[in-house]
Structure formats: C-alpha cells, structure tokens
Amino acid sequence: MASVLVVDDAAFMRMMLKEILEKNGLKVVGEATTGDEAVRLYKELNPDLVTMDITMPEKNGIEALKEIIAADPDAKVLMCSAMGQQAMVLDAIQAGAKDFIVKPFQEDRVMDSIRKVLR
C-alpha cells in the first residue's frame, strides 16, 4: 500500500483529500500544515507520495517542494493548486513536481493523477 503525506494548511482540504486517498486504498501516513512541517515529515516518514498545497503561510508549497527534491531527487510530489495559479504550477513542475491537481478535487481526477505518478 502506497504511503502518502498530505500537505495543506486548511484542515478541510486535508480531510477531503484524505478521504479520497483512503477510499482508494492509499495510506495517509502524515499530515502537514506548513511547508516546514512538510519537509520535516517527508524526511521522517519517507512517504511514496506527497500531495502539496501551493498557498500556505510561512513557507509555501513550492519552496517546500524544492527542499524535498533537494533532499530526495526521486521524491514524488503532486501539487495541489487552485485556478489562476498557472505560473506557480509551472514553477513547481519545473522544480520537479510530478503532476498537479486542481481544486476542487474530483476523485477520479485525483486518483488518475496519483496512479500515473506512482507507476
């Protein structure tokens, strides 16, 4: 079972995503609410996949992504963005994010992306 670290500052979003993931047989091993926490938990838990929100206080998702990739170039990070964040998503992809999903999350869309990233 693949392990996932869910990163989002909104509890609501984490809950939503967690449910989708767990319903589809993935194991959410950790939840982080800030970029710093995400980096720390990644190193600690070494999950198969990270879902990373872009807009977060203090350290945003892109900075966290860069730190994670620097620590583990094979890290599989899936960015979560909202409409209108085109440039930031591009930045993230260039920085090594494997894919992105756009809020509002649709289960099939999320799982499609995750399967492709994990393959």
């Binding site: 203090e58 409409m83 085109q86 440039a87 998503v89 894919d99």
Partner: protein, 693 residues
C-alpha cells in the same frame, strides 16, 4: 466521514478566514501600503475559494475568485487602496458572509452576485464584452478537432529543410496530435508538461498553435507537435500517456516529400489565412492584457515568498458537545468525591482518608483544566465589532473610533455564544444615541471623532464588559418624562429614585428616548431584551452617565455557568440553593417587625420596604417546621428590586454543580436546576429572578 462533518469543518474554517479577512481589511485601511496585509487577505480569500469550489458552492467560489483578482491588482501596485475600493471589497465580504451563514443554516449558499461581481470587475478594468471576443479569437487560432484521419499540419520552407536534413541523419519525425481532457484545468501547464516530456525524447521543431499561444491557453483542447526523435512511435505514445488529463494521443510519421507537395498546393491559401490569423491574434492579445495582468504569475510567486503569516498555534478541534459531555462526567465525579469525603471522614481510616484527599486535589486540578478548556477569549465576540462600527458610522455620518481593550479576557463558551447580540445592541445604541454628529461635537468643543471603548476584564469570579462612549450622555429629565408618559413609573416612584435607577429605566420594556426612529436602534424594544439576556446568564447590567460627557454601560458576567457559588438554605426540611450572585445579604427579623401592605407581608429593611416571599408556600413544602419568633431571610435582588426570601435556616456557602432538571421537568416555576450534595441529597436551585416581579 459524512458530508455534514465536512460541512462543519468547512463552515468553521470559512468563518475563521472571513474573520481574518475582515480584520486584515480594517488593518489595511489604516496602512494602505502594507502589502503583507494584502497577501494575508489574498491567502484567506484563496483558501475560501478552494473550499467553496470543493463543496460545490459556485457563487462563493466565483465571488472569492473575483475578489482575489482585485487583491492581486492591489498587491502588484496596479490598484490603489481607496475608500471606494475598500467599500466594494467589504461589500463582497458581506456577501460571502451571507453565503456562509446561509450554508451554515442548511442553505445551498447561492446568492445573486451579479451586482457585486460587476463592481469587482470594474475595479479590474474588465468589461464583459472583451471576454466574448477573446473566446472567438482563441477558437479560430486553434486547429479544429480532426475529422479526417490525417493529422493536419503544414510546414514552411525552413521547417521542411530541417525535416529533410534530420531524416538524413537518421531521425524520425512525428506529428503528434494531443487532445486534452475536456475538464482539464490549467491547460497551459499541461501543455508544458507534454513539451517537457517530449523534449526528453527528442527535439520539438514546431507546434500548432505556437508555443506562446499554447502557454497562454489560446487553444481549445488539441494541439499538434512535430518531434524529431530516435525513439519509436509506441515509446513516445507511452511517455505522453503517463501525463494525466490527456484524452488522446495520435502519432503519425511525417513524410517529408508529401509535405513538400502539400505545401506548394496550399501556399497561396495559407498565405491568406496566416494574415487573418495574425490580425485576430494581435487583437486578442491586446484585449486580454488587463485580465492577464491581474493574474501576473511571476510577481505572485515573489510576493508569496515574502509572506510571513501569523504564527500557527497547535490546536485540535473538538466538538463543543464532547466538552459538554466531559464536563457532565466530571460533575458526576465531583458529586462522588463529595460522597467519598463524607464516608472517609465517618470511617476514620487513615489510608482511605489520604487517598481521598489526594483524589480531591487531583479533581480540583482537573476541574480547573476542564473549565479552562471551555474558556474562550471574548475576542471571538469582539472582533466583529470593528466592522460593524465602521459601516454604522458611515451610515449615520458620524466619525467614531472603536477602542477594544482586554479582548483576551476569557469567558465560558456558553456565555460567549449568548452575549454577541446584546452587545451589538448596546454598541449600536452608543453610536446612534450616544455619539453626536461631527458638527455637534465641534460645537461642543469636542474632537470631531467620537470614541467608543469596549472593555473586558476579570474581577474576582466575574468578568466585566463595559461599553463607554464620550458622546452626549443620558438626559435624566428626558428619561423621567418619557417614563411617566409611557406609564413605566409614577411620580412617586421617580422622587425616590437615584440617578442610577433612573438610567436603568432605559432597560424597562416599552421605552425609547430617541426622538427619531432610525434603522439602527430606537424602536423601543431591545434594551429590555438586552437586560433579560444578560440576567439569564447570571449577569447584571448597570448604567452610568454624565450629561454632555458620555455614558458607561457595564455588564457583570459570571466566569462559568456550570459550577456556581450558592447559599444553601433549609425550607421545611428540604434543601434549596440560592445563587450568591442574586443575594444582597442575609438577615433575621422578628415577626413583630413584619407589616401588611396591599395584602403583602413586608418589612422595613434599612429604610426600604422589602416584600417577603415565603419559600415554603411557593414550593408547597409539605412538612412544616415548628413556629419560631423570627424569620430567617435571604435578601435577593433583581436589578434594583429586592425581596426577602423567608427560609427556615441558613446552612452555608457552597460550590455546587448546576444540573438541569432534564426534559421531563420543564418550566418548573422558580427552579433553575438541581444539584447533588456531598451526602447524596438533592438540592433544588432557586431562580430568584422569577420570584421578584
């Protein structure tokens, strides 16, 4: 997890973010150049948008999206923070608040947002017509989805040269038609991912539409890429299919000779088309400019880096019901502790006594923790007032500054929930009737801007909330006249009344001093409701005022509702508890000092006529005690009125746990609940407010 649980979190978090937006907007008004604040607001709006869209509240998502665009303009220095801009944003926030409220009360959060959307868009310099033409331009620029089997692509002279040269070098050339899923969002990024993937495999020499157009999302769903590579067709296919949101991939090898012929044939026609395309392309670009700037990406990321949000406290969310259950269980424990203490003192066993003492200490600490857990800063209630004062003072054309002092003072959650509305009323009252118009103030030699102070502080077992204004003050004469006119009091009453008592008449029902009835307050209902609400919470409201200088409304509230200080009394061998907050003092009077007045037994107590209330009659107590020569009295008050409760004996002061009587016994006259005493006996808690009419 059920939908409703999501909804709960959604509503909670939405409210938090709305509050953050409100607070930050008010801050922004004072420091219009502080972009950190704008970033904070932006972040909150962004989160709201994401949550709203996820829950399917489209109006909410659309409105926040629009607001976000405006905020972005401000952040990029393209829009100035003027009062007009702030008004529109505040209006938008109001709309969002309405939606969230609607959702919270079970609605679908839909709302007519056309008007506000138009306003927000006008700030962004968008006119609706632009969008239409843009779409038209995009549509022509994009290749239409193929109907024939062959992928349509034309190459110019230079491209054909490159193609034939690379063919000679052993490269294969593929035309790749990629069609995106129709639900794809952020198409530009998707295209980028396709390009990136393809560039790992070879070299892209051409794309239709152009890379620039693709990146700017000026295409519908499909685009054609020409790739030079050593890899096989199926490998390329696999690579692209790994990317999500790709509906289909079609790959064809380029036949260079055929392409050359095709080119010749099409040359003439293409020439014309290209011209047309160019015209439309530039037109579209020009029109798109304003909206493009609004989501200008590079700047967004750089200012995002600067964001230093507020510190996050580690907290968990616990449903208030669970805390109530915990409190209840703990209360049971307190009752058993009382039993144990009594048993251990009877048995006189040393070890048992030690253990029980230890347990008592621990439950004492536990009680403090549980009570603290239920405590919340009054900030919760206070933080909606700055907004209210702002809009109200604009409405009334007054200049008012609200000062909040002691917002971190903590109160029981149950009380917090109740005091919001009555406080709103009192503050409105201060603004409407208290603070004068700027002209009047200047004429009186006061500063133009009035000050309303909202103050909260602890004092003993109570929390005080005060609302003080430096306005006109209360006109005693006016109140007296009005009270007489409305039959609230008689001439005789008035003569005996102190200033404070006269001010308190404001809280009598059917009373209003405002000469003009405004939207804000002054309908003559309300202040009495305010008083009743506070009193039902065990609070006391007092008013003080100085004509021309201002007034002070002071509310005294208990720290918590569930554990209260009472005086235990005995009436006909039954025990009753009287809340200490209601008690003025206790007294013993001889029977001969009791008089009859208007069919009512009264005493002359410290110069006042105090009616007596016989608890054994009220509660129909079956067992009568022996007649004594004197009455034991507990003097209680409700506001300014007092009464003497006649009891058989006074037992003493106790901390008790308030338990409701449950659903079987509702509306029991003058009993607000019950408690279990250390010895297992039940004592009823007297609601003195009902005994004083």
């Amino acid at each position: 997890m059920s939908q409703s649980e999501y909804l709960e979190v959604f509503i909670d978090e939405s409210e938090e973010h709305l509050q953050a937006i409100n607070d930050n907007l008010l801050k922004l008004e004072n420091e219009p150049d502080n972009m950190d604040i704008v970033s904070e607001i932006f972040r909150s709006a962004h989160t709201l948008k994401g949550m709203g869209a996820t829950m399917g509240f489209e109006d909410l998502a659309n409105l926040t999206h629009n607001m976000e665009n405006v905020l972005d303009l401000i952040r990029n220095g393209e829009l100035e923070v003027t009062p007009e801009v702030m008004d529109i944003i505040f209006d938008a926030v109001d709309d969002i608040e309405e939606m969230v409220t609607d959702i919270a009360s079970g609605g679908d959060g839909s709302r007519d947002i056309q008007e506000i959307t138009k306003q927000l868009e006008s700030l962004q310099g968008i006119e609706t017509e632009d969008a239409g033409e843009e779409v038209a331009a995009t549509a022509t620029a994009a290749p239409t989805t193929e109907t024939s089997d062959e992928i349509e692509e034309t190459f110019d002279e230079y491209e054909l040269t490159v193609l034939s040269q690379s063919e000679e070098q052993g490269y294969k050339a593929f035309k790749i038609l990629v069609t995106l899923d129709e639900k794809t969002m952020l198409k530009g990024v998707r295209v980028f991912m396709v390009f990136e993937t393809l560039e790992e495999a070879g070299e892209i020499i051409k794309s239709t539409p152009s890379a620039e157009d693709l990146e700017n999302e000026k295409f519908e769903l499909s685009f054609v890429v020409t790739l030079l590579t050593h890899e096989s067709k199926t490998d390329i296919q696999k690579r692209i299919e790994k990317i999500s949101e790709i509906a289909s991939v079609k790959i064809e090898e380029v036949n260079v000779k055929q392409e050359k012929q095709k080119k010749l044939a099409l040359e003439e026609k293409e020439h014309q088309e290209a011209q047309q395309k160019e015209e439309k392309g530039t037109k579209g670009k020009k029109e798109k400019k304003p909206s493009q700037q609004s989501s200008s990406p590079k700047e967004k990321s750089s200012s995002n880096k600067k964001q230093k949000g507020m510190e996050l406290n580690k907290t968990i969310r616990v449903n208030i019901d669970r805390l109530d259950v915990l409190m209840n269980l703990f209360e049971e424990l307190v009752i058993d502790r009382g039993r144990l203490e009594q048993i251990s003192s009877e048995l006189n066993n040393n070890e048992l006594q030690e253990t029980v003492e230890r347990m008592s200490r621990i439950t004492g600490d536990l009680q403090e923790i549980i009570l603290n857990m239920r405590m919340m800063p009054v900030e919760q209630v206070f933080n909606r007032f700055p907004r209210m004062v702002r809009s109200l003072s604009r409405e009334l054309n007054k200049k008012v500054k609200l000062e909040i002092i002691g917002a971190d003072t903590e109160l029981d959650r149950t009380i917090i929930d109740e005091i919001g509305d009555p406080l709103v009323h009192l503050i409105r009252n201060s603004l409407d009737h208290g603070i004068e118009t700027p002209d009047e103030r200047v004429a009186k030699g006061k500063p133009e801007e009035g000050i309303v102070k909202l103050r909260a502080f602890h004092s003993g077992n109570h929390v005080f909330i005060e609302i003080e204004d430096d306005g006109a003050g209360i006109d005693k004469e006016k109140i007296m006249n009005k009270a007489l006119e409305n039959g609230v009091v008689t001439d005789e009453d008035l003569e005996k009344m102190t200033d404070q008592q006269i001010y308190s008449l404001l809280f009598a029902s059917g009373f209003s001093t405002a000469e003009k009835v405004t939207d804000v307050s002054g309908r003559g209902v309300g202040l009495d409701v305010v008083r009743t609400t506070f009193e039902s919470l065990g609070g006391v409201v007092t008013v003080d005022s100085e004509l021309g200088k201002g007034s002070l409304f002071s509310i005294q509230l208990p720290l918590t509702l569930s554990i209260i200080d009472v005086m235990l009394v005995e009436v006909a061998q039954e025990k009753y508890a009287i809340p200490l907050t209601a008690i003025v003092e206790t007294a013993i009077v001889e029977k001969k000092d009791v008089y009859n007045a208007h069919n009512q037994k009264v005493i002359d107590f410290r110069g006042k006529v105090v009616p007596l209330v016989f608890l054994d009659e009220i509660f129909d107590a079956p067992l009568k005690n022996e007649e004594q020569d004197f009455y034991s009295l507990v003097i209680v008050h409700k506001g300014e009125k007092v009464a003497g409760l006649v009891v058989d004996s006074l037992i003493g002061q106790h901390d008790i746990v308030l338990k409701s009587l449950g659903n079987y016994l509702t509306n029991v006259f003058a009993i607000s609940g019950a408690t279990i005493l250390g010895d297992g006996q039940v004592a009823l808690i007297v609601d003195t407010n009902e005994l004083i009419k």
